[in-house]
Symmetry: C2
Amino acid sequence: MVGPPVKPTRVQEVYDRIRASLLNGELEPGSKLKIGDFTARYGVSLSVVREAVTRLAGEGLVEATPQRGFAVATLTVDALQDLTRARVLIETLALSESIKFGDLAWESAVLATHHTLAGTRMTTADGHVAPDFTVAHRTFHNALLAGCGSARLEGIATGLRDCAELYRHWSQEFAHEADRDIAAEHRAIAELTVARDEAGATRALREHIERTTAALVRYVERTGPAPTSAYSA
Amino acid sequence: MVGPPVKPTRVQEVYDRIRASLLNGELEPGSKLKIGDFTARYGVSLSVVREAVTRLAGEGLVEATPQRGFAVATLTVDALQDLTRARVLIETLALSESIKFGDLAWESAVLATHHTLAGTRMTTADGHVAPDFTVAHRTFHNALLAGCGSARLEGIATGLRDCAELYRHWSQEFAHEADRDIAAEHRAIAELTVARDEAGATRALREHIERTTAALVRYVERTGPAPTSAYSA
DNA sequence: GGTCAAGAGAAAATCGATATTAATGACCGC
DNA sequence: GCGGTCATTAATATCGATTTTCTCTTGACC
């Protein structure tokens, strides 16, 4: 009888905070993560920050280069397209499985999370991405795949999505996708999914993901090959 | 002009060695990984071992429990079946993509690695799994998926396979699968793959994976719920 | 004018010690 | 005699200092 520990360890706290910063777009892709800065900001020792960042590197949110430290994952157009391809393949796979095996509770969750998403404004008054929206968006997409019945598959899909999320912020800040009706895309995905239309739902999801990438590519190509990579020179 | 670092860091060395030990079945699933032991064995400091093990935990080869240290990943029957399902879905997906998009070099590599595998004895004189075979086996399976054109997808598949590899040793040591002709399975997979028979090849791969799991399940059920988990009590 | 090399400075990697926390077993009360 | 409580012990988590490695600047040389 051992409950999951009640008191989070320092590493866990720091990990959570840095991760949130990354996903909120508070750190520029490609920029160096100086361990020293974080020790000061969070009032912990090198080791703690180091371990937290090492974990993030394992998830692919951060790039680790021996002897040269850590940097927020950079994204070249090539890498972005590989990421997108992997996401499309794996997320549509998970969605197919969900549609095949998902139960009523899953269906209900899809509807509920979509309703929440639909009722959340995407941008704040000053034009930034609303934190609420980010959360609702992720929750909705997670719900879609939650019926697949495989914790591993779900985890993999979520990990890939988080990698992409790193950059979604940057594209949305700069390349307002005026020509998209994102709400409609979400609605279509939700409706086709609960209607158990496997082909339709996966197609809608694929297009949704690919449109987001297209916007990202436009952004990356306009900004240059992403803020200086740790290597590239 | 920055080449990949020539001199491996201590963490990297320790990481590699522990990882190899895990994959070679030198550490019993579920057993605790005492940091202190490793510092003595490898002549490095706590921090180094800790970081190496943290990385392994990120890959799923090791379980980390706050305040209670690290243990070799345990495998319940449930978790094993989830792992298998994820592997089947993702490896067959990657194989399909390979068959669709793989080029001549990929085809050649499949044939070459299969030939090597076919020419390598599985067990040593004393009945253990031959290290050569383990390497050849992994190389072959990697080659199958290498044509999929997505480094990410390939990496994910490899990661899942490594997780399973952790236990393959234990099943093979104890449950000699007399009723299987593993060589024939590999041959079928290789032939169907180079023949670009997508349905056939993926079916053969799926059955190959599922047969291995069946043997593992027999082993786990016979041995009990795997050598005492860090939790379970 | 440009290239390359030496040196100062900054950052990462590693270490050994300290503070916390969990596991172990003896001890006491019921 | 049994269950529970409290010291003891072992291992983890954290820290701050030291060593090693890279980076950037400066200046000599081609």
